[in-house]
Every structure is written in C-alpha cells, then in structure tokens.
Symmetry: D2
Subunit: 352 residues, 4 copies
C-alpha cells in the first residue's frame, strides 16, 4: 500500500486540522482511549475495530458517529484515518502496528510494545524508515505526579539515587496470555526508564505460579544499575490488598510515590544519612541520621491518558518525536524478555 | 570448671525458687532484658556485665541490688547465677554462650545465635551434651500476634500458603559489624521458621551498600520452599518511612500482619481466587475472584519479651526444652550464612 | 391539566414497559441522573430540561436520542414522559415537583425535598391526593454500605445505640443559595433517619460564616433523641482534608462507616464497656472495658444512584410507595428548618 | 507555718543547686512525674506521698533513695523539700496546693488547677501574695509539636484563624469523680488557650451519660471567640477507636495536628479559599479554591513532661513566672465550670 495514494500525509509532513483516529481493540483499555480521543479537541474518533461484535456494540454509544468494524483492513484502507491506537492483546501488537505504519498511519500502541525483542526492534526500525510516528502508551510518564518526580530527580533535589523499591500488588485481573510481570511491571519499568534514562546492567527475576497455566502470579524483579543503584519490583495478582507505591531512596532526600493516595501522591522526606567516609571508628556507628520535614507537593488533577492522546496528536501535527517512542518501548521489552528468561531459571542473573 | 562445684543444679535438674540471672551486655537490648527479668516474679537479676563501665552506670538505677562487673569471669564463678542472658555483639555470642554453659549456666542468647554455622552447630551439640538450656531470643515467636497467626495457620483457616512477603524497613540504626540482613532479617526468618517449621530448599539474596564498610544497607532475600511457596524479605536501613508488615497469601484466606498497627495488627481477608483447574478456555480468564469480609482478631497487649523471660525461667525450672531452642537458632544461622554467600555473588541461588 | 388527557397512567395504576423519564437540571447532579437512567433497563431518558443552553449541550452526547429543552412546559405537556427527576436548586424543588405531579408525572426530587416545611408538607399531601409517586433522592439509603448497617442495627447486633457522631468535611463547593448545613447535612440526616426511623426530640445547631454572604461554611448540629441517644454532625466547606465518617457507638458493639475507605467502608468493633450498675464503689472505676475483634463485612460495589433509579422505576411500575418517600423528605426538612432557626440564634435549642 | 523557719528560700529568691521535689499522688500520672524528676539533672525526688501504701510500694523501685509517706504533713514539714508536684484527684488540688504554698513550697499541679473557679482564684491570689511559683501541668504546651504550631500561628504563616475543631476520643478510662469534659477537655483547652491567649466570649456544651453516675461520657463543647472564630471539641470515653487530632482552619493555610501520627504529627496545607468580597454575582459561586502543597515540619522527639519539670525547676531557680501559671490554669477552670453549667442545661449558651 502506498501511503500517498491512500490520502495520508507523507512521512514527516505536518498534519493540519484534527487528527482522524481509529481505535483498535475494545477490551479493558480501548474504551478509555475512545473517551479520551473523543474529548480531545485535536483528535476525532473516526473508526473503532474489534473482532468481537458485542464489544463494538458496547462502545457504540460513546462515539455514535464513528465507523464500527470487525475487519482491520477497513481501517487500513480508510484514507481519512491518520492514526491508529492499538489496545489489543500483546501478541498482536507487532503485526497490527506494522500493518498500520505500512498503510501510512501513525501508531499509538499499548504497553508493552511487543512480546519479544525481535519484533520490537523491527517496529522501531520500520517506523524510522517510513517516517511514521510510533508512540508507546507508557501512561505513567504522562501523569502529573511522575512529571513532578522527574523534575525533582533532574533538579538534583534528591541527590544521588541509592535504590528504587516498587510495589504494585492487588487481587488482580489474571491474564490468560501473559504472566504478572508482563502485565504489571511495564508500568513501573516505564517510570524508572523515564526517570533514569538508561538500561540496567543486569537483572534477576523470581516468580511463582499457582495455576495450571504456569503463568507466574507473584513475581519479583531486581535491576542492577551499577554498584550504587538497585531497583526492585514486586508485582502480584494474589495480594488481598491493593498497594501501588514506589520508594526512591537518595542521598539528600528520599521520595515516596503512592498512587493510591490521591490527596498526597508524592511525599518528599528531608531526611537521610550522613556517611562519615573518613571515619576509622572500629566499634561503633559510622553513619548518623538526619530527620527532617516532609513535603507533599501539590499535583494537578489531570488525566494522564488525556495527556497521552494530546501528545500523540501534537507529534503527528508537528512531526516531533514522542517522549515515549519506539526506542523507549524497546528498552522495556528488552528488560521483560530478559526477566522472562531469568524467572524460568529460578532467578539466574542475566547481563543485558 | 565443674558445674556441681560451682553450686549450680546438675544437668536436667529442676530448679526451685526464682532463677538467678546475669545479663551480659548493656547496649540497645540489654536494658530491656534487665527490665523484664526484674519484673518477672520467677527471675532475679543478680548481676550485670559489660566491658564499658559507663553502660553499667547507665543501668545501675534499674536494678540497684545487682552486682555490676566488667569481667565476665565474675559471672561464671558466681554460683548463685543460674542463667545468663547474652545481649552482646553477634560475633561474641558463641564464645560467651559456650563458656556460660561449660560453667553450668543455662543460656538465653540474642538472635542470631551465632555469626556462622560451625559455631551454631557446636553450641547446639554442646548444650545437648551438657544438658543445659540453650534458648535463642526469637522475640516475635513470643508475641501475642505471632501466636495468633500460628494458630490460624495450623488450624487450616488460611488454607494452603501461596507466598509470604515481608517488609521491615526504616531509617535505621546502622550496625558496624553486620549488614542489614543479619541485623533485621532474623526477626522475619524466625517468624517464618515458627510458622512453617522447615528449612527452605534454596535461597537467593541481593543487596547494596552505600558506605565504605561494604556492609549492605538495603537487601532482599528470597526463600524457595518448593514450587508452591516462596517467601521474600525486604530489609532496609535507608528507608524514609518505617514499615513492618508481612503478607501471607493463601488459598482460602490471606492475612496481613502489620506490626505498627497497634489497634489492628492482624487482618484476615476472606477473599481469594478460585482456580478452575479443569478449564480449557483458550482465550479468557481461568480464575475468578472472591472478595469477602475482613476480620481483625483481638490481640492481647502483652510484652513479648516478658513472655520470653518467663518461658526461659519455666524451661529452667521444669527442664523442658525451649520453643526457640538451639536448633531453631541454627536454622536461622544456616539461612543467614547462605544468604551472605548469595549476596556477595549478586544473588546467585544457593541450595541448602 | 388532566393527567388522563395527557396520556399518563392514572393514579396508582401500574405502568408497563420502560418508564419514560425527563431529567430537569443539568448542573452537578443531573448528568449523574442521566447516566443512571440511561443504563437502567427499566427507564428511558426521553427529555432533558435546563434553563442554560450550554448545559444542555454539555450533556447531549450522553443521551443523543432525547429531547433537549429550556422550557419546563415542554416536559409537562409531553405525554410520553411518565416521570421527572428534579436536580435543580433547592428553592425550585417545590414548584417544579408540584407542577409535575399536577401534570400526572411521578417525581424523583433531589434532597432536600424543599427549602421550608410548609412547601414540603404541601408536596406530601398533594402527592397523596393525586396518587403520584413522590420520592426523594436520599442516595445513601440506597448504598450497599448503609443497607448493611441498617441490617446490623435492626438485627440487634450492635445492642442499644448510645451516640452517633458524623463528620462530613472537605474543601468544598460553596453554594450561593444555601449554607453548609442545608448542603451537606441532608446526607447524614437521611442516613440517621433511615437507621432510627424517628424524629429527634430537640436540636441545636452552631455555625459560622467567613464570607459576606452570611451563609455558614462550618456548622455543627446536635440532635437529642431522648436521654440515651444523641447524634452530632460536623459539616464543613473549609476543611483542608476530606473526611466522611460516622461512628455509631452502642452497648454491644460499635461501628464506624468510613465512606472514603473503599476497601473496608464498615468496621465493627466487638469492644465496649460493661457498666456495673450495682456498684457502690466510692473511689474507683464503675465500668470496665472489653476489647475485641474488629470485623469488616464485605460490601458489594454497587452504584447507589443506580439502585435509586431502579427503585423509582419499580415504585412507578408496581405502585408501591418508595422507601424514601415524601414523608422521609419532610422529616429531613423539619430538622433543617429548625436547625436554621437555631444556628441563627447561636445554638439555641429547638424542641420539635 | 513560716517558710523561713522551715528552711525554704524566701519568696522570689533564687534557688541554687538541684530542686528538692516531693511527688504527691502515685496513681496514673504520679509515676511519670517521678520518672521525669528523677532523670532531670535540676531536680531530685526527695519524697513521695500517697494515702495508699500499695501504690507507694509500686513506685519504690523507681526512686529507692526517696522518703515514702502516707502523711502529707511529713512533706510540709520537711525543710529539704523545695517544691511539690501534685497528681491527686482534682477535688483535692486546691487544698493540697494551698497548704504546700503556705508551707513555703513551690507547686506544680496537675490539670485542671481546681474543680471550681473560687478555689482556682484563691490559689492564684495566694500564690501572688506568698511569692510562690504556682504552675499548672498543661503538658501539651510543653510538647515540641504544640510549640511548633504556636510559632506558625504567631508568625502569621496561617493567616487569620477561622475555626478550630478538636477530637479526643477513645475507649477510655472512666473517672469516678469527673465527667469526660473535665477529664479530657483540659488538654485541648490548654492548647487553644496557649495558641490564642484569650478567653472565649461564650460557650455551650452538650453531653450524655450512659452510666448511673450521671457523669457524661460523650460530650461536645463549643467556644465562641467572636463572629470570626469558633472552636469545637469532641471528647468521648465510648469511642471504639482512638482519635486525637485538631484541625486549625485559617485564611492562608490550614493545619492538622494528629497526636497519634508520630512520624508526621503536624501537616500544613497550603490550600484555602479566596473569598471575592466585591463579587455581586447573584447566582454562582462567590469563592474559589486553591489546592497546594502539604508540608510536615520535623518535630523533635522530646518528652513533653521532661520539658515541664525542667521549666518548673528553671522558674524556681530564676524566679521567673511559669508559662502555664495559675492564671492560665484559672482560665481553663473558668471554661470548664461554665461548660458544666451548660451541659446540665442541654447546651444553653453561657456568656463568660
């Protein structure tokens, strides 16, 4: 298919007017995408596609003017559709994204970008060759809380980061095709990727399954970023309580992001340890403590997904690369694939 | 030295009247032992020993009638002293305990029993040969909350245990001779040992140090009890907040022990997953959820350490073996020593 | 107007088929009504009325098939409309409800029923004369949590109720026509009315205003139900934190309803006091304490407003009286009007 | 008795060397006083007095060198005793304090100063005449948290105070001689007295008793400080949960003091309302909201009672008047006595 013939703008061209969008997949996340594209003034939902007719009916009231189809080809052939948002099972991300880009569409794809490194790499390189926008929906990166934390980290306010400890557990929605690590860890991995901007040196993952599917429902992932920094993730579908928090321990101040505390999602602790490097004390304590104020910055109440769709539209209209582009998505897939090998080897450490 | 000559009761003999106790070490924990032995009607604090004269002065008001000495031999030679409670640095536990048992004293020693397996094994075998009481102060085992949890586990109320996740973190008291794992994990390991009553098959530990001492201040320990059960521990001296909780996920009910929630330390969640083992659903969810009541049993307000000293006195007076005997202490040391090797090998898995 | 001529069912007649509903007022609550009537299979939103055209446009996407009008007469004259739901400012409730009933429509009106007793009484008597359903949207009465609490109270599980203490505070939506008592207290008053089913003997209200409007923004209301039972309410638009909880202290067990704790909204405390009535101890304690388990019953996740609209439809279709009928609405207005007089008299006690 | 003859320093004279103290009453609070006077380097516990011999025995270990007596005259006659600390039932405060002052002793008395205004006034005037220190143990005034709050209020950081709402409830220690208001409210009244430094214009109190004693076990107290400021207190011996918090709502920032949150006892909310005084909007909102950061200042971990005894010793040694002198104690008694009349008149408002 030739993008020009299909009426789409050429690669790298700026797009004027609202972006015509098709949403692919109407399961858990698709309706959220439809709602946000509908309320964004820079986008219009022109079509919705799902293999399940009942799902299409379920969302029809929310965008009555759109085209509803069970056939993805209808989307590819529709020249008014500038971009597709893909919210289908992970195993289908690569094929659908690729087909959409080949058809001249820009692509927003749910996390994780793909279920293996090879496919993720191909998506990245093909997007570059075709000059298409390939954006991964790492939603947290667009949340006001994570934006604020990024500011704090980059400003040096926290000092040197010592460790990151993240817990994302609840009595959860079991997935039938991916384990808890592929389901939940991309959230936290994308946050850490955004904050640190680099891959870990090595990792190890441990997990356990309690179903016949052999898909782990409780898992731990440990990332080694060099001797001074370790990040650890606990993800769990079997927890009786819902917890979503991340501790960022650092030299000057420490920070806790609690995604369930809507009033005070971020707390910054002006406390820490003073390490007396010159100390030669043989018996005794080499470090001292400092306790200080706690500060909770005001975080605006914005819907992160609205920021996602706006950024996607903005990238399409201006040609600028997305903050969470294919490269960012690929980094997460690299970690997940290595973690998958580690978890099947009882936590054997994998060097990236 | 001959225990008989020194006036102590022979091995296995019942002791009548209050037990004469010497407390060795007046650092952080010693004063708590003195206070509890003083208020227990079955024991009397006859002597206190510490190498630091100022520490002795610091506790003199709390047991004015006792003998205060910087010389451990004074304790060994005192025939009125039936038992010693050792609250000194870990590296000295073995030598002091051994000397005390050889001198005919029964021994209560702080956790961990020793800083290596060989010493711990020697203490266990020597206690058996000499017929002395060797009890390890695994304090949590004597807390009303853990007793209640043990009851719940043993009664089958929770069903099959799926995982244990324990967090014990705070801005902590750095130790100059042991890392955070040796310092904090014995608490949680002794709880798990008490609840499960068996050693794990294998373990892996990961940690990181931010001081020149190379002693890890943030660490994770993962115990594998066979395919169906994993226990994971997060211990941390660098956390801006204090957390002390353990999740016990199980098939029928799950339980959370929050040691900082004095009003409701135990919560039992009558929720879980129903795993449909016969399911052949290809796409879809194989498990379903059940949410239910939450129940917080009343836990009596007893000081665990008072239960420890009473149990110690009771064992001495009746000759019965302590609940947390040398064998229990040895199991914890086995785990710690293996964890130490693992942590220095970047989390390499050790089979026990 | 003659209801028969207008095509409505006669008084007390059962209505078959979905109930045709008009929603009057599209401010804060109207859109919620539209959404719930739209998703309820027993009702259809046939029309929406608001004086402000922009508000009508704002909700048009949510029920595209409905009639939108700025003229209430269009509603009254439309024979397909069986019932109206009135979500306009309080001062208009009486006139709109009356007109609707006279036009043969059944009425669901937002709380409070009216802004004065006389109007409320007239609505009740006119509804009786016309045989129309007059239901007040005391939403909490239809919430699963309050239903569960009602069960517990009625079953005698709590014993004799000693006091009720309710806190509903936040940095709030100032109202320009009513004070914080009229705005927030109806929620709690309707809960207490539902649980106890009787009017208090007397009341006193205290409040304070910090704006030029003289409308109180912080207020306390105290209801006296006889010597053994007192209910107190704190409502506040100036609180830096949001709190929504009610303590029900009772002789056998006490209960706390925390509307912000979604995981455990109800907690039942099996603790209390034993009052030794025969005691003649002069110096000493006449009562003893009992601490016990805490239990949090599972509460289904239902939207209370969905239950409201279903109950409304059910009453229309079967002719049965609503649980929160005009009489219930009138009881709340009696309390509010008396409280209004008390608050302007610095808390002078008013006997009802 | 002549103070000079008894060997005490004359009125207003500075006292050199440690202050010799007698503690009167060894019930709930007395042992805390003994412990704090014992560890304060500026004071020595020379004697302890209680009518109950068993209580004296109970505290003998904590100050073995002191004189123990059941006879208060022994205290009065002992010339080495410079000062007495009175922790007896409220009804005895006046007589004991007066006798001690007449005998030349300085006095620290538990709150409330007396159980009626007349006695409290007499204590204040007699202390002035005799030149004795009369200090009331309003412990909270000496806590680091309340000190910090006082700083914030005085600095104008909060702006104009709009309201104070205080909750002090728990399943409590019933008193046999005073109701819950006299038992618990002095804490909060002394805090408000310290922060505002003035008496309210009027007050009203409501309460209820569930025992035969007619002593209220649930009570509310409302203080009117003029049109712009109201303070309300909820005290309760029948609450299933323990709550201790005070909201201070103000124009620029609001503050919450939670005495049970040891990690973050004070939270300052940089949020509020902007009142548009010039607004002539008829229908609409006259005020707008501002949400902002939350800040929790570090509060040193000091024992307030240690600060109390040090301040008492300092006043005795330097002759300076105590921060919580008889006048402060009298203000609290004035409020309590008026509240007592109001509570017996179903909340009738009393002008002070």
């Amino acid at each position: 298919m030739n993008a020009e013939l299909l009426g789409n703008d050429g690669p790298g061209q700026k797009k004027s007017g609202p972006v015509g969008v098709a949403v692919i997949g109407c399961g858990y996340w698709g309706p959220n995408l439809i709602r946000n594209f509908s309320t964004c003034e820079a986008t219009r939902v022109l079509a919705v596609c799902d293999r399940d007719r009942r799902r299409l009916q379920g969302v029809s009231a929310s965008c009555p003017q759109a085209q509803f189809t069970e056939n993805f080809d209808d989307i590819l052939k529709n020249p008014k559709i500038d971009a597709v948002a893909i919210a289908t099972p992970v195993s289908t991300h690569a094929a659908l994204s690729l087909a959409a880009m080949e058809a001249g569409k820009d692509v927003l794809v749910e996390k994780p970008l793909a279920d293996n490194i090879r496919d993720a790499e191909r998506l990245v390189s093909r997007a570059r060759e075709l000059g298409r926008i390939l954006m991964v929906d790492h939603t947290y990166v667009y949340s006001p809380a994570i934006r604020k934390i990024k500011e704090l980290v980059d400003s040096g306010n926290l000092g040197e980061i010592y460790y990151i400890d993240s817990v994302r557990i609840n009595l959860g929605q079991f997935q039938s095709d991916i384990n808890v690590l592929w389901d939940l860890a991309p959230h936290d991995l994308s946050i850490v990727d955004y904050l640190l901007g680099r891959l870990p040196r090595s990792l190890a993952a441990m997990g356990i399954s309690h179903t016949t599917s052999d898909l782990e429902d409780v898992a731990y992932l440990n990332l080694d970023f060099g001797r001074s920094l370790m990040a650890t993730f606990h993800v769990n579908w079997l927890s009786p309580v819902k917890l979503r928090h991340t501790i960022i321990g650092a030299s000057s101040r420490s920070l806790i992001f609690n995604d369930l505390n809507h009033a005070e999602p971020i707390k910054i602790y002006d406390s820490g340890i003073q390490i007396d490097a010159s100390s030669e004390v043989r018996y005794g304590i080499l470090v001292s403590y400092r306790t200080g104020d706690v500060w909770s910055p005001n975080v605006p109440r914005e819907e992160p997904l609205q920021n996602v769709v706006r950024h996607f539209a903005d990238c399409i209209q201006t040609g600028k690369p997305p903050l969470t582009d294919g490269e960012a998505g690929l980094r997460i897939v690299r970690i997940l694939e290595a973690a998958q090998r580690s978890i099947k080897a009882q936590g054997g450490r994998i060097t990236l």
